[in-house]
Amino acid sequence: MTIQQAFFSYFAGAIVALSLLVVTRKNPVHSVLWMLLLFVHIASLYLFLNAEFLAAIQIIIYAGAILVLFLFVIMLLNLRKEETEKRFQGQWPFGLAIGVVLAVFVVLIVGKIGVLPELGQYSVEAVKSEGHIMTVGKVLYTEFLLPFEIASVILLVAIVGAVVLAKRSLE
């Protein structure tokens, strides 16, 4: 086992464990906090994969924006009694079974992944020479201009939608 593999093993183990914690904690606030930790670990994995920019936005957006939003809502809804009630619903054994079987199936299938297509132009060296953010930016604003613009519309819709739905009273 190389050092990378050892590191990966740790992170992978942590990610799995944290994921399980996220979905099993009774208190949603705890879940959110475990998730924060999870996101940090995932961001670290991105660093492993030479994706600094992704690591950054994983922290900034996911942890900084999305999770905070979750926390806000949890607070807003003031779910006190939550802690006293059952965390799983009646069908959870099915959920568990499906989760396990799905994992087994998918792992069985994808675990054998081997052959990859011809390598592209963005080798680690190439990206490093230009800087990851630079590379991403270039690609994003040329090749992926259209998706980028669409994403902007999506965000706009999200704003409008959130306002329309959540505003206390419009009239």
Binding site: L54, V139, V163, L165
Partner: protein, 100 residues
């Protein structure tokens, strides 16, 4: 060197955990978080593929997924709040006005 398959297996396991959370939890917020978990698992595999393919696409897609996740979070939580105002519960199994 970490083999690609490790990443992919990790991704698969996390995805499954997300599915489990989605199906098993009562609290809608945690259900929602399970969804985010699933998205993150996809992100891991995408980033890994991207790395191993030496292609940028995967990472770009991760970027978009995170963007959309943000938008989804906004709308989803807004819907949740709107719902909660009319019916103060976020228990999945208490929401069954519409059925049959």
């Amino acid at each position: 060197m970490v083999p690609l398959s490790w990443y992919i297996v990790l991704s698969a396991i996390v995805f499954s955990i997300g599915v489990f959370g989605f199906l098993a939890r009562r609290n809608l917020i945690i259900v929602f978080m399970s969804l985010e978990l699933m998205l993150n698992s996809v992100n891991i595999s995408l980033a890994a593929f991207s790395h191993y393919l030496q292609s940028m696409r995967g990472q770009i897609l991760v970027f978009f997924i995170i963007t959309v996740a943000a938008a989804e979070a906004a709308i989803g939580l807004a819907i949740l709040i709107a719902f909660y105002r009319n019916n103060p519960t976020i228990k999945v199994d208490e929401i069954n006005l519409l059925k049959g």
